[in-house]
């Protein structure tokens, strides 16, 4: 049904964190347009192994756009050309015979390259560790229907909670800022009644941890363009508002202690 195409790939190869790294060019001949982008790389790797060359390292797991493991810069765009689509969901029918494709890892200071196209994204977990939770020890929860949550609040919290933690927003940002990720995580909890008790502390802790690792947001909006879950920029505004309020409230709270 679909066509078979051939491509020229320019792929970033870097043999370990301390290696300087360089682009290598590979021909990807006879690729079915039914293949996904990552399956195309699987095929290239299979051929490299046959030739005795170490395959290209790239990460992926669910290949359904939900685990957030995959993520490549494809022709300079985080997750490639298709809006609202993670790398693993991109298919080769979006490309044409003879295309040249440049493939790079996420580029951000706080995401060091491990090898080839794989990077380490630990600071995202550190932001969660700093306060991305509601303190409710196992067994201490009241009946789930005790607190009704207005549907609008629930839906909005969900829109934020849809973030898959892929880091494309950071990779796409000229400043390597993590505002979109952090605001998604923060608002998921801060918009819900359950999240109110720790709201201000959470805002302060998460934002300040973010600032320790990532750059400053200068409102480019590239993050939203790259985001596979199309997380709204409004959440960044909400986060900024909560953070400013938090600074005042937390000072007051401290004074009461």
């Amino acid at each position: 049904m679909d066509q078979v195409i051939s491509l020229t790939l320019k792929v970033w190869r870097q043999n370990g964190p301390d290696d300087a790294g360089a682009f290598q060019t590979y021909q990807a001949e006879g690729i079915s347009q039914d293949a996904s982008f990552l399956e195309m790389l699987d095929i290239v790797n299979e051929r490299l192994i046959e030739e005795g060359t170490e395959p290209i390292t790239f990460e992926s797991d669910c290949r359904e756009g939900i685990c957030g493991t995959c993520g490549l810069m494809i022709n300079g765009k985080a997750h490639g050309p298709e809006l609202g689509t993670a790398t693993c969901q991109l298919h080769m029918r979006k490309f044409n015979d003879g295309d040249h494709i440049t493939i790079e890892p996420w580029r951000a200071v706080s995401f060091p390259v491990i090898k080839d196209l794989a990077v380490e994204r630990t600071p995202l977990d550190l932001i969660i560790e700093a306060g991305g939770y509601i303190s409710v020890p196992t067994g201490s929860a009241p009946d789930a229907n005790l607190t009704p949550v207005p549907k609008e609040a629930a839906d909005m919290a969900f829109d934020a909670a849809a973030c898959i933690g892929c880091g494309a927003c950071v990779a796409a940002c000229p400043n390597s800022a993590a505002q979109l990720f952090t605001s998604a995580k923060l608002n998921h909890l801060n918009l819900l009644p359950q999240g109110q008790a720790e709201r201000w502390q959470r805002a302060e802790n998460m934002v300040e941890t973010m600032e320790m690792y990532f750059g400053t947001c200068t409102n480019h909006g590239e993050c939203h363009e790259a985001c596979p879950k199309e997380i709204s920029l409004d959440f960044i505004a909400f986060m900024n508002r909560d953070y400013v309020k938090a600074k005042i409230k937390n000072r007051k709270l401290a004074g009461q202690r």
Binding site: M1, D2, N15, G16, S32, Q33, D34, A35, S36, D42, I43, N45, E46, I49, T53, E54, P55, T57, S60, D61, C62, R63, E64, I66, C67, G68, T69, Q89, H91, I114, K115, E120, T122, D125, I128, E129, A130, G132, Y133, I134, V136, P137, T138, G139, A141, P142, A144, N145, P148, V149, K151, A154, A157, F158, A161, G165, H188, L192, Q194, G195
Partner: protein, 640 residues
């Protein structure tokens, strides 16, 4: 040698059993909990919930995952929902009904006491998750919404758009990270467990490899918990995430843990068919689509016409024809087997003739495109993204794929394996689903085990071990296991063969799928054993793993997983061969009713089969745990 398998289920009426047992079990005093170190391997729903809950209680927890973050575990991909006997809809649900449905759905091959406990604690899971901020669907009054799922007659499934797994895992992960922040959990990401360490048949620790540096480390603990997920990727193509594997469970098996019911695997009927040889995984399309889509194939063999050109009278709506009462909504295994039959006959559709149609044109004509879009819009979009076809215009193509594994390491009522100190939770154990799992029950089981069962039962095990120090990793058992792992790695890097790991994994997957897939028979299973063995020999002699051991090397990680899949695949065949009955996901062609339905043999096979490893090249030993049904009446299923 292992004696008879005792489930250690306490005596008494099932309805108050768990409450009473919680009272009877030994406790560890709060100040003493920190003297115990517990290792948890796996941080998916089961592992993250267990690690967080035990740390809150005061245990010293060390958690391990080979992922870069706990949030990436395969649990993240679950779409449909999670069951709980809340009866919020007032439609007659109860703990007892959920218990009954689960035992029946498992085709009477699970342990009643475990399942009842699962149904009891299901209600607490929803409370816990909601309090953590899991955004379950709500109605306009702000209360939680439910839907019915997988043929259940009550609405007991809680859901969070199409991402119930992600939202529940984010809840468990946030609880875990709170404990990491508090310093009560030591989190080891990118650490793969490659062996279990035992001393005098008791689990005392694990050996891990740091996948970024290649460093091999020994870790000792008073107890080890495996929460490492299922083994569906033995089929190569499945709906599981690419990295799902059986290595942790299998290495524990080789150290003496019994592996139960490996032949119980679940094939999900509605997945997108493979498009070519290089297909890397299969994508599940939600089961809910069968509520409105009609399944059909052409009546004629090798009909090349596009779907729309095939007149109504030349279509075979085979499920509606064979099962007028249930039609397209027959259970998963029945729908899957019937799809296989028509495709094997040569009536499959699509370029590779490997699918059946799931057609929405009647539903669109009846309800309008907008209604269908509102119900299934995101699924249709996902389908189009993958196949390039628009399901509003042409029927979807679907085919069954491996989805879940009911088998796993054998555990008793306390979720402890036959090796003292080794606990197994979540999909990695064999416990609650019998021969078939109901939709939306895996998330429930993983979280039940992790939040509400293990934190109690582990205390009972640890209570009398206060005087015992953390096992010393300088001990002989640790040193030997550590060296064994090192030797294995050196071995694989030195084979220098000609074919990739993926090549062998694909070939193995074909054997397992063809012989131990949707329908099994004696002849095929015997062939499976010999052909898997022959392929394994070639794999061991001819696989090519490039690169080195002292940094990230994905081929090296994979080769060890595939090696374990070979051994597991063979055990699946043995298990299927010795179970000469059909039950749930295990269909033996020799054992069917006149109507072609699965026929159980309760007189001879009302037991769990748990296999003991006896060394490479040796026949494993089959142990059994007799199942006793005091509450649920055994019946033969019929969907006519």
């Amino acid at each position: 040698m292992i004696g008879s398998l005792d489930s250690n289920t306490p005596e008494g009426d099932i309805q108050g059993l768990w409450e009473q047992h919680k009272f009877d079990m030994k406790l560890v005093n709060p100040n003493n909990k920190r003297k115990f170190t517990v290792i948890v391997v796996g941080t998916g729903l089961a592992g993250a919930s267990a690690a967080a809950s035990m740390a809150e209680l005061g245990y010293n927890v060390k958690a391990f995952t080979f992922h870069d973050s706990p949030r990436r575990a395969h649990s993240i991909a679950a779409q449909g929902g999670i069951n709980a006997a809340k009866n919020y809809q007032n439609d007659g649900d109860s703990v007892y009904r959920l218990f009954y449905d689960t035992v029946k759905g498992g085709d009477y091959r699970s342990r009643e006491s475990n399942v009842h406990r699962l149904a009891e604690v299901s209600v607490n899971i929803i409370d816990q998750a909601t309090a953590q901020g899991v955004p379950f669907a709500r109605d306009y009054g702000g209360l939680l919404d439910n839907r019915s799922f997988g043929g259940a007659q009550v609405s007991r499934t809680f859901y969070a758009r199409g991402q119930t797994g992600q939202q529940l895992l984010l809840g468990a992960y946030s609880a875990l990270m709170r404990q990491v922040d508090a310093g009560t959990v030591e989190l080891h990401t990118r650490s793969e467990m490659l062996d279990l360490v035992t001393e005098n048949d008791r689990a005392v620790g694990i050996i891990t490899r740091d996948v970024l540096t290649g460093e091999i480390t020994s870790h000792g603990a008073h107890a080890v918990v495996l929460a490492t997920g299922g083994y569906g990727n033995v089929y190569y193509l499945s709906t599981n995430a690419m990295m799902c594997n059986a290595t942790a469970a299998w290495r524990a098996h080789r150290k003496g843990a019994l592996f139960a019911n490996p032949c119980y695997t679940q094939i999900h009927p509605t997945c997108i068919p493979a498009s070519d040889e290089f297909q890397s995984k299969l994508t599940l399309m939600s089961e809910s689509l069968r509520n409105d889509g009609r399944i059909w194939v052409p009546k004629a063999f090798d009909d090349e016409r596009p779907a729309r050109d095939i007149p109504e009278g030349e279509r075979d709506y085979y499920l509606e024809r064979k099962y007028p009462a249930f039609g397209n909504l027959v259970p998963r295994d029945v729908a899957s087997r019937n799809a296989k039959t028509v495709v094997d006959e040569g009536r499959g559709v699509g370029p590779l003739k490997n699918g059946v149609y799931l057609d929405f044109s009647d539903a669109i004509a009846r309800d309008g495109e907008d209604t269908i879009r509102a119900k299934y819009g995101n699924l249709f979009q996902m389908y189009e993204r993958i196949t390039g076809e628009d399901p509003y215009k042409v029927p979807m193509r679907i085919y069954p794929a491996t989805h879940y594994t009911m088998g796993g390491l054998w555990v008793d009522y306390h979720l402890m394996s036959n090796l003292p100190g080794l606990f197994v939770i979540g999909e990695a154990n064999f416990s609650d689903h019998g021969a078939n799992r109901l939709g939306a029950s895996a998330l429930m089981q993983g979280l039940a085990d992790g939040y509400f069962v293990l934190p109690y039962t582990i205390g009972n095990f640890l209570a009398d071990k206060l005087a015992e120090p953390v096992p010393d990793t300088a001990g002989v058992a640790f040193v030997e296991a550590n060296q064994g792992v090192q030797q294995q790695i050196d071995h694989w890097l030195n084979v220098n063969g000609t074919k990739s790991v993926d090549y062998y994994h694909r070939e193995l997957g074909k054997l397992v799928w063809n012989y131990i897939g949707m329908a099994r028979n004696k002849n095929g299973l015997e062939k499976a054993i010999s052909e898997i063995t022959a392929l394994e020999e070639e794999f061991r002699a001819n696989v090519r793993v490039l690169g080195s051991a002292d940094g990230l090397n994905q081929s090296l990680e994979k080769v060890q997983r595939v090696a374990d899949f070979f051994e597991l695949g063979r055990l699946m065949a043995r298990d299927a061969l010795t179970r000469e009955e059909s039950c749930g996901g295990h269909f033996r062609e020799e054992s069917q009713t006149e109507e072609g339905e699965a026929l159980r043999d309760d007189d001879n096979y009302s037991h769990a089969a748990a296999w003991e490893w006896t060394g490479e090249g040796n026949e494993p030993i089959r142990h059994i745990e007799e199942l006793q049904f005091d509450y649920v009446a055994l019946t033969q299923r019929s969907y006519k």
